[in-house]
């Protein structure tokens, strides 16, 4: 009786142990098959064909679409849903794999006009924090880099091919020359894209992602925040992270925003308003990612032709309202 009882109890225990050990500990998408996994999910679950390539800790997904946008450049609803499906598929894979990914970017273009591409870059950490309710959906949407751009490589190749045709080079030579001299890996996030059956991607680093995000938030705030939208017409905003050979590391934010109601305000006042807004954005971004590998933030007001540099500590004090913009040391203003 005791032996039977033991056997009866042994099997369920073994079954539980086996099921836990067989399935409970492994990752769903092993790193050896991570790219294929994305392709498979997109095909099986959404019937979307994608191409995937990884470099370092960044995964890039190319999504060709028909009727991505109309003549007004607004994105088609179906295409938008497909992009979302692909983003969700990639998120599932990068979250449940043993491969180490920090960023992923989805490059979508309309097959009729491949030169115009939508590039979406997301941080895996941000996705996790959203799922854990550590950040709000609104904050999350501010952290996503979305850019509708003319593919830089396509621009370059078109110009070069014009030259080649003037030189009457044959097709084979043209390709050879193009590969040898005019096709290079991207150096910034702005160069990321897909052209001519080739990914132009780079491993996204945190500082450049943050710099781009600061620029993206500047664009968003100057468009959506009433006080800023009423005061300025934003023409351009560019963010970069500079690490000079001398060892200086800083964020450089170049903003071209033309002040409205110029009669009522002086150029200097407009510049101060712009700097205040940009400093606030920079402070929030650096703080929310806990990033401190920089000495200062340099802001260039291209309209007012004025530049300021605010040290990291002062940036944090500004954010926490321990000092006011007016209290910044004069030397910080270059």
């Amino acid at each position: 009786m005791g032996r039977i009882k033991g056997l009866v109890l042994l099997f369920p225990a073994l079954a539980l142990f086996a099921s836990v050990s067989l399935s409970g500990c492994g990752e769903t998408y092993p790193k050896e098959k991570v790219n294929e996994s994305v392709v498979k999910i997109c095909k099986d679950e959404y019937n979307v064909d994608v191409k995937v390539e990884s470099v370092g800790k960044t995964m890039a997904i190319y999504l060709p679409l028909e009727d991505l946008m109309d003549f007004t450049f607004s994105i088609n609803k179906d295409a938008s849903e497909k992009i979302n499906d692909v983003i969700l598929s990639v998120a599932r894979v990068v979250l449940s794999t043993d491969a180490d990914f920090n960023y992923y970017c989805v490059i979508a273009h309309d097959v009729r006009i491949p030169e115009i591409q939508i590039v979406i870059i997301k941080s895996v950490e941000d996705v996790k924090r959203l799922l854990l309710n550590d950040i709000s959906r609104g904050e999350y949407s501010k952290r996503v880099l979305i850019d509708l751009r003319l593919n830089p490589q396509s621009q370059k190749e078109r110009s070069v091919r014009d030259v080649f045709s003037k030189m009457s080079l044959d097709e084979k030579w043209q390709e050879q020359m193009m590969n040898d001299f005019f096709r290079a890996e991207p150096t910034g996030l702005g160069d990321i894209g897909y052209w001519g059956g080739k990914f132009y991607i780079k491993d996204v680093t945190k500082p450049e992602f943050l710099a781009e995000q600061m620029a993206s938030r500047i664009k968003m705030d100057f468009k959506e925040a009433k006080a800023l939208a009423d005061a300025f017409t934003l023409k351009a905003a560019k963010g970069s992270y500079v690490a000079s050979p001398e060892g200086n590391k800083y964020f450089k934010l170049e903003v071209l925003a033309e002040p409205k109601w110029f009669k009522d305000t002086t150029m200097s006042e407009a510049s101060d308003k712009l700097f205040r807004a940009v400093l606030e954005i920079a402070g929030v971004v650096a703080h929310s990612y806990g990033f401190d590998d920089f000495g200062y933030v340099e802001i260039v007001d291209q309209a007012g032709v004025k530049t300021i540099r605010v040290p990291k500590d002062d940036l944090e004090k500004l954010r926490t309202r321990k000092i006011k913009y007016e209290d910044l040391p004069a030397m910080a203003q270059a």
Partner: protein, 577 residues
């Protein structure tokens, strides 16, 4: 993964078939399964739940699986915390305490300090209780002569008649520790808590009995756990059932152990005294059988002598006017329990203190009785015409009660509003009557109708104040005819026992006609009386309008003035005897 599941499923099927075959052919395994059916079923259910949970987790992608697993401990903690908070709050707010017994429930017998002499009246019951005490004290002698040791005493009777007091006296006289609990303390929403408390109670009682040679467990409001058990498939009353079962088992256990050893062990000397206001037939029969509550003591309301003694006892503790006649107070307090009498004396003491007197007077006691019986007076702005109508109405009641009722004494008439009435005539039975005859019921109807008649005589019109009187009078007349066979035409029997549909219309008409006849004859009798004694009616109405209240002495004086004082005394004496 799927192959693993298939193998697992196959093994389960093999196990189930093997188990089925073994159950079918091996009585030993069948017995084993029967004996452990609950743990086996619970074990299988838990296993299936765990297996399903694992399968559910397996179907999740690793990130979501980790997320779910990571939140599990917190969820478990939160659920446990919620459960603990809920149970704790419930216990705090609902004054429970799980199975733990409060130390306040245990009192040493000698500290109770209620002596036989403190138990007033109820001589018969006291004699029985004394006998019980002797039996408890001298168990060896009882055993020697082959007598059955008492296990339980059940005290029954109306509330406030001294059941708890008597139990305390028993505890004092025996000198045994006394554990007092209320039946409601065993009733909980948590299944098993009541039974656990019973176990804890008897465990404590046995421990005390071991050290003190015996212990008395007093369970007040026993009906809370001793009501007839309900055996429902839904288990709605299982908690009360299980508590009662445990009480029965504990009381049986005491008996059995004693029988086996032959010699009573001290820890077995636990006597359970139960007290209840509920009628005997509402209690579970198992509770009442010998071996549980062997002795039943019926504690009734005190009689005239007892009430006199009770007034003397409670007033004896305070300073009072020596001219107070206890016999008169006793007559005035028919159907009052000892607790009521204690309350009257306490209320009288408060009134006397409020009025800055250093002793209780008869007036204080009368006011206390009125406050308790009639309610507090409240001011109401009444037009003089309404006041006059009320005065006539109450004067009518007063005269009918005084001059026609053979079993009631009038103590007060008032036109001061109380408890929603504009006036009242306070009367009391002359003795403890436990039934009513035709004459008494007719007198009741007459006294109810007298208000209406007086209004009609005085003002040639009547008011809405008669509605309640009519209702009561009609109800009495109806019951006399339909239930008590007191109508004419030989309509004997209780016609309310027959469904109305089975009674012929003719019969109903006849019975209602009889009811009407009683009603009319009473009305006529009252009309004759009040018309004849119109001067007395007018006088009482006038006095009431002027003084608003007339006391016993003032009422007597007016009747004396008209030569009517004591006109019903002979009749009343006849009934009293």
């Amino acid at each position: 993964m799927s192959s693993f599941l298939l193998i697992e499923l196959l093994v389960y099927i093999i196990l189930a078939v093997t188990a089925g075959i073994m159950l079918l052919f091996s009585p030993k395994i069948r017995m084993y399964a029967r004996m452990r059916a609950t743990p086996i079923i619970v074990g299988i259910v838990i296993y299936v739940l765990i297996r399903l949970a694992i399968m559910g987790l397996m179907s999740l992608e690793s990130f979501y699986r980790k997320l779910t697993i990571a939140t599990m401990p917190v969820q478990l903690l939160m659920v446990s915390l919620n459960a603990i908070i809920f149970v704790y709050m419930y216990m705090i707010f609902m004054k429970g305490g799980f199975s733990k017994l409060s130390s306040k429930t245990q009192i040493r017998g000698e500290l109770v300090n209620v002596k036989w002499s403190d138990v007033i009246g109820m001589e018969n019951v006291k004699a029985e209780a004394k006998e019980v005490v002797e039996l408890i004290k001298d168990r060896a002698r009882v055993k020697k002569i082959g007598g059955k040791i008492l296990r339980g005493i059940l005290m029954m009777g109306p509330p406030g008649c001294g059941k708890t007091y008597l139990a305390k006296a028993i505890a004092t006289e025996t000198g045994l520790p006394f554990i007092s609990m209320s039946g409601s303390e065993f009733v909980e929403i948590f299944v098993g808590v009541g039974a656990a408390r019973v176990r804890a109670l008897f465990k404590k009682a046995r421990e005390l009995a071991y050290g003190n040679g015996g212990c008395i467990v007093f369970i007040d409001e026993l009906d809370a756990i001793a009501r007839k058990r309900v055996f429902s498939v839904f288990g709605g009353t299982e908690e009360t059932n299980s508590t009662q079962n445990q009480l029965l088992a504990e009381m049986d256990g005491l008996q059995e152990k004693e029988d086996k050893t032959g010699e009573a062990k001290p820890e077995m000397n636990v006597i359970v005294i139960g007290a209840t206001n509920a009628p005997e037939d509402t209690l579970d029969r198992a509770m009442l059988r010998p071996g549980r509550f062997d002795r039943k003591l019926y504690i009734d309301l005190p009689n005239l002598d007892d009430r006199e003694k009770l007034f003397a006892f409670y007033l004896g503790k305070l300073k009072y006017d020596p001219s107070i006649d206890f016999a008169r107070l006793a007559r005035k307090s028919v159907y009052k329990s000892p607790a009521d009498i204690e309350n009257i004396v306490k209320e009288a003491a408060l009134i006397s203190t409020r009025d800055k007197r250093d002793m209780i007077t008869l007036g204080d006691i009368s006011e206390a009785m009125e406050r308790i019986d009639l309610g507090l007076k409240h001011k109401l702005n009444m037009p003089l015409s309404e006041k006059k109508m009320t005065a006539y109405h109450e004067a009518g009641h007063l005269m009918a009660l005084y001059l026609l009722h053979p079993t009631r004494d009038v103590f007060k008439a008032s036109i001061i509003p109380r408890r929603g009435t504009l006036g009242v005539v306070h009367s009391q039975p002359t003795a403890e009557f436990h039934s009513a005859n035709k004459e008494m019921l007719m007198a009741d109807i007459k006294s109810k109708l007298a208000g209406y008649v007086a209004e009609k005589i005085g003002f040639n019109t009547t008011s809405s104040g008669v509605s309640e009187d009519f209702k009561q009078a009609m109800n009495i007349a109806h019951n006399m005819v339909w239930m008590l066979g007191m109508g004419g035409n030989n309509y004997l029997g209780d016609y309310t026992a027959i469904p109305p549909a089975q009674l012929s219309e003719k019969l109903k008409e006849d019975l209602n006609e009889e009811t009407g006849k009683i009603f009319q004859s009473c009305l006529k009798s009252v009309e004759e009386l009040l018309t004849k004694e119109r001067p007395i009616l007018d006088r009482f109405a006038k006095e009431l309008i002027e003084k608003e209240e007339l006391d016993y002495d003032e009422i007597d004086a007016i009747f004396k003035e008209y030569g009517k004082f004591g006109s019903m005394d002979a009749e009343k004496d006849r009934w009293r005897k």
